[in-house]
Symmetry: C2
Subunit: 182 residues, 2 copies
């Protein structure tokens, strides 16, 4: 290959990618700060609020962590009055985590500046431009995640999709992110 400029383009794309990551990373903190919760807590609350109720298992799967982690996480959310535990009647092993009024409000009122900014700008684009962006993003995503990899719209905070988006699918592979050992 012509090392010269071909390489340059690869670099450029990597850097753009990095900017995207960085922006989202910072956004997470920003958003959590505004809501008075940590990013992880907010994420869990979001999942709960999205469907109105979720089991610990479901949350763990969605977040890619173990149940034990979720237990502690929910403890904190309960302590802050964001969610409540409701033992399920259909299956008494399970516990349904439901948002409190405050929790629901928190999620709904979260500024989510980043996404709003993005959405605003995206929707201001011409039709063909939008189409092109979608096509490219999907292509890049495919290049990165190689195998299929559950892409539930976790980024989507409020509004976006309807209330009862089943979300069911969730191959739930990736049993545990298995982070490094000590």
């Amino acid at each position: 290959m012509f090392e010269g400029f071909l390489m340059d383009r690869t670099d450029t794309s990597l850097i753009a990618l990095r900017r995207i990551l960085r922006a989202t990373e910072l956004h997470g903190k920003e958003l959590a700060q505004a809501a008075g919760l940590t990013a992880v807590q907010f994420r869990a609350l979001q999942i709960v609020a999205e469907t109105g109720s979720a089991t610990a298992k479901a949350i763990a799967t969605r977040m890619g962590v173990t149940q034990a982690t979720v237990t502690a996480l929910i403890d904190r959310l309960v302590r802050q009055g964001m969610v409540e535990r409701q033992p399920s009647q259909t299956d008494r092993r399970q516990v349904n985590i439901v948002p409190t009024a405050a929790g629901q409000r928190t999620v709904e009122e979260a500024p989510d500046a980043l996404q709003q900014r993005y959405v605003r700008k995206f929707e201001a684009l011409a039709d063909w431009e939008q189409a092109q962006i979608v096509a490219t993003l999907e292509r890049v995503a495919a290049m990165l995640d190689a195998e299929e990899l559950d892409a539930s719209p976790v980024l989507a905070t409020g509004h976006i999709h309807g209330p009862d988006d089943g979300v069911a699918g969730h191959p739930a592979q990736r049993p545990g992110p298995k982070p490094v050992a000590g």
Copy 2:
């Protein structure tokens, strides 16, 4: 999913974005696991190895955390034989963190599967496709990060291409993202 009517293009693009984030997130763990370090540790080691030496302050600034955090982080890297502390002669307050041979090797040999996969696929694309991807990614990045945002190629780890690709630059501004409160 309900791509039918509920899923407009904005949604689709957000989901693609989310896939990209997710892939990178997982990649961080993967990479760290291969290197025997956590993602954060690896990142710090990377910074140190990049320039051959860095003060705690510099690392803190680059990573956007406090010095206290860096101290503990470096402790762990020292314990693992990845870096060493070398008191500076020019300014006896500061401590230069330098990589050990093992640490240097670790950074250089890090597989960085994600990036390699991406680069491989990217470079297999037709010329116009590459150009289009670059243009779109930059556009999206601009939509997301709005303001300035030091976009140094931090993603670039073992870096596929040549040994001495510039990379130097690093404005090293970014006074400190002042991460979320606790």
